[in-house]
């Protein structure tokens, strides 16, 4: 019974009954504890709050009512045994045990939480390694010539394993190209590009020289694109948004910045190299730089002009120096050097003067061009004035023409004016007639349009919401599936449930103890049997010896007086011995009776009859008192 009690107590604790640690069996349960545990059980089974207090109330009648209610609930749950208020209030161990066994059995299983942690990833890895090694150790060896690319398929289900490295190759990635944006109709792909995509571009698996490089190349493409995207997002979030520019502007600005910096560095380097030697290549670089600068800045023509002149000057320089070298050939090195220096100096001066002249000229050119512009402007204003004046002149001429026949002409003119005014009025009327319905129609259409627009917007909104929902639901489903998988795996791994195994262990223990006990009982039985046998044989022997001695002594007693006495003694001895044996047997019987009675007493005492009686009497008295007080109250009221 201890095992059962333990299981019951553990289950009660898991559903949240406050059972102290010292309590190890149902015998130690107090009435309060029994009631509160039973209520807790019922609440857990029905999964709702029931109208039962968790603790025993003070009033006797309330107690009685609560006991009856509890009994009713348990009967509703399907308890077959006898149950009533007395089961809880005046408890009896075996009955309480039965009730709790029933309740614990009905407890929902999921409340018994199984908090086994999922296996750690390191353990999983360990296991995976172990299984791979085991599979490989168990697979037979075959000659390398028989393996395709040194791969073998082993195990069930077949898994591949590499047993050689002849098929290995280096990670070699090359640039891949594939059409993009062909599905997006809003983006216009240039015709040439399109025809290149259609006619010339090979399929992506057919682009590398070696087919083996296809996979690495594609992987590399993916990785680089993802990292570029990430990099851009980072930059945009950290700096781009702060600059309050649109994406294109930001990019353009960045490009400009980089170009500027590039140009600056190159320029500096060029200066440095110019100090060392004014070589032609450096000059070229200067050109490149200026071109680059011109591309970024607006003054394109100016820059290029500058470079042109520079080129010109330089070319002249070259010519001069060539001539110089030809003329100075016969002189010594030093002289040459000197001359050259002088020449260089002279040339430099010349260059400076030329460039200053050039600057001046430039300035002049500017001035002139400004003058030209001014003049042009003047010309346009003049022509405009001219046209206006011509118009004026025409009007004036006509009025002058009309002057001689003034009155007639005035009347004519008046007529024309009147008729045109009338015409205007009728036209206005007509226009008004047409206008009103048109305006109305316009308004209607406008309204309709706005309605439609708002509807479309609404629909768009709805679509958005639906899409969101769809995604959410899909996500949900996926996560649930994953959970299911996870739980399934857990469930599989948990087959040897801790609790279950504990129970089975305990059951096995109980079984073994029962076996042991049975063996003990068997042993005792055989012992008693053998003792019985011994007793029987001994008594038989005794009987026989007694008859023999009896006969012997009886024969002798006829002749001898003393022997007669001995015979009498013998008879007495025999008789008293028999009596003794009888007494021993009687004691045995009595002892057994005593034991039986003791058992009975224990059984009775288990029922706590006395204490229950006492409780009942005290409860009875209390009830009486309550009744009396109530009667008094009623009397008072009446």
């Amino acid at each position: 019974m201890e095992e059962v009690d333990k299981i019951i107590i553990v289950s009660l604790r898991t559903i949240g009954c406050d059972i102290e640690d010292e309590i190890a069996s149902l015998k130690e349960f107090s009435t309060e504890l029994i009631v509160s545990s039973a209520v807790q059980c019922i609440k857990t089974i029905l999964k709702q709050d029931v109208d039962l207090p968790n603790t025993l109330p003070g009033g006797m009648s309330a107690r009685f009512r609560m006991g009856t209610g509890l009994a009713n609930y348990i009967q509703e749950l399907g308890y077959k045994g006898e149950i009533g208020y007395q089961t809880f209030l005046y408890s009896n161990e075996s009955e309480i045990r039965k009730v709790f066994m029933f309740l614990v059995d009905r407890l929902p299983k999921d409340t018994v939480e199984t908090t086994e942690e999922p296996m750690g990833s390191s353990a999983l890895l360990q296991r995976a390694i172990a299984s791979t090694v085991l599979r490989q150790m168990n697979s037979p060896w075959i000659s390398p010539n028989l393996k395709k690319d040194s791969i073998t398929w082993r195990g069930k289900p077949p898994m591949w394993q590499r047993e050689g490295s002849c098929a290995m190759c280096n990670y070699h990635a090359s640039k891949m190209k594939f059409p993009s944006g062909t599905g997006d109709l809003t983006k216009k792909v240039p015709k040439e590009l399109k025809s290149y995509y259609c006619e010339c571009l090979p399929y992506i698996t057919n682009q590398t020289r070696n087919h083996k490089d296809t996979a690495p190349s594609i992987l590399e493409e993916i990785a680089s694109e993802i990292s570029a995207q990430l990099e851009w997002e980072n930059e945009w979030n950290s700096q781009g948004l702060a600059s309050r520019l649109s994406e294109q502007e930001y990019k353009a600005k960045k490009r400009q910045r980089i170009q500027k910096r590039l140009a600056e560095t190159l320029r500096q380097d060029f200066k440095r190299s110019q100090e060392a030697s004014s070589s032609r290549s450096a000059q070229d670089l200067q050109q490149v730089l200026d071109k680059m600068g011109s591309r970024t800045s607006a003054g394109k023509t100016k820059g290029s002009r500058f470079t042109h002149t520079e080129q010109l000057v330089f070319a002249k320089d070259e010519v001069v120096s060539q001539i110089g070298t030809e003329a100075e050939k016969p002189h010594t090195e030093e002289e040459l050097q000197k001359k050259r220096e002088e020449e260089v100096l002279g040339l430099k001066e010349e260059l400076e003067s030329l460039s200053s002249k050039l600057d001046q000229l430039d300035l002049e050119v500017k001035k002139y061009s400004a003058g030209v512009k001014q003049m042009e402007e003047e010309i346009t204003t003049q022509t405009r004035q001219n046209v206006e004046k011509e118009e004026n002149y025409k009007v004036k001429k006509r009025t002058l023409d009309l002057l001689p026949d003034a009155e007639n002409n005035i009347a004519k003119l008046q007529g024309i004016v009147d008729s045109s005014a009338q015409k205007l009025v009728t036209l206005a009327n007509q226009w008004e007639k047409h206008r009103v319905p048109l305006i109305e129609q316009y308004r209607e259409l406008k309204e309709l349009n706005s309605k439609k627009e708002s509807e479309a917007e609404k629909k768009l909104e709805e679509i958005k919401v639906f899409r969101q929902k769809m995604k959410e639901v899909a996500d949900d489903a996926r996560s649930k599936e994953e959970m299911l998988k996870h739980l399934n795996a857990e469930y599989n791994s948990m087959n040897k449930d801790e609790k279950r195994s504990g129970y089975t262990k305990r059951m096995m223990e109980i079984m073994s103890s029962i076996k042991k006990q049975r063996a003990g009982i068997d042993k005792v039985l055989t012992d008693t049997k053998s003792i019985q046998k011994e007793i029987n044989s001994l008594s038989g022997k005794l009987d026989r010896t007694f008859t023999v001695t009896d006969e012997l002594i009886f024969r002798d007693a006829k002749r001898d007086e003393s022997v007669k006495k001995a015979y009498r003694y013998l008879a007495a001895l025999h008789e008293s011995c028999e009596q003794l044996v009888q007494t021993v047997a009687d004691t045995g019987v009595i002892m057994r009776e005593i034991r039986e009675l003791e058992d009975q007493i224990e059984n009775e005492s288990k029922n706590k009859v006395l204490s229950n009686l006492e409780k009942i009497t005290s409860d009875y008295q209390q009830m009486k008192k309550e009744n009396q007080s109530m009667v008094e109250k009623i009397k008072h009221k009446s």
């Binding site: 791979t132 490989q136 150790m137 060896w141 394993q161 992987l219």
Partner: protein, 199 residues
């Protein structure tokens, strides 16, 4: 098996028959020294002066002894054969005994020195191993590929060399099995019979 002496060799050694066993012993010591470390002509001169004989004679004597010792060691002459071989050289009993002792003492060393001179193949010196599991690579994440890495140390005429090798469990088992069989082959009756007969 007996050692056959050429006439010239006999002549060279005949000098030693004329001197006392102690001198012979000294000569033997010098010969061993020379076998170990190469000849040193200065010692010849000293010995020649001491014994009051020609340098060439001493030279020939020592070289003759060296030849005698190496040749007999090369052929792995046993005691009796060695004694029988030098019988013809006309040494007296004591000297022969001395020579025999010296031969027996030094035969092992001489053979080691000789074996160092022989042709050598790259041979096994040591093997280190370790067990790795490849868990991921640049192009394939999530794998468990067990590999065994070997560092094989070989030696060729004193030059050490290492080779890095790898294998997988299947081939490792195969390798072990085959080489173990090779090792067991030496203990087979057939091989044992051959070993017995060649000796």
């Amino acid at each position: 098996m007996l050692l056959m002496f050429e006439d010239q060799h006999k002549e060279h050694l005949s000098f030693l028959t004329q001197v006392s066993p102690d001198v012979v012993k000294e000569f033997c010591r010098i010969s061993m020294e020379f076998i170990r470390k190469g000849t040193n002509p200065k010692i010849f001169q000293g010995a020649a002066q001491k014994l009051n004989v020609d340098v060439d004679t001493v030279h020939h004597g020592v070289e003759g002894l060296m030849y005698l010792l190496t040749e007999s060691s090369k052929l792995m002459l046993n005691e009796i054969d060695f004694q029988d071989s030098i019988m013809t050289l006309g040494f007296d009993e004591d000297t022969r005994q001395t020579l025999l002792e010296i031969y027996l003492q030094n035969r092992r060393e001489i053979r080691t020195i000789l074996s160092e001179m022989t042709m050598d193949l790259p041979h096994y010196h040591n093997l280190e191993w370790r067990f790795d599991v490849q868990l991921a690579s640049r192009s394939l994440r999530r794998q468990t590929t067990p590999t065994v890495l070997f560092k094989l140390h070989t030696e060729d005429s004193g030059v050490k060399d290492t080779t890095i090798l790898q294998t997988d469990p299947v081939n490792l088992l195969h390798l072990t099995k085959v080489l173990d069989e090779a090792l067991q082959e030496m203990k087979s009756p057939y091989c044992r019979r051959i070993v017995r007969n060649i000796k």
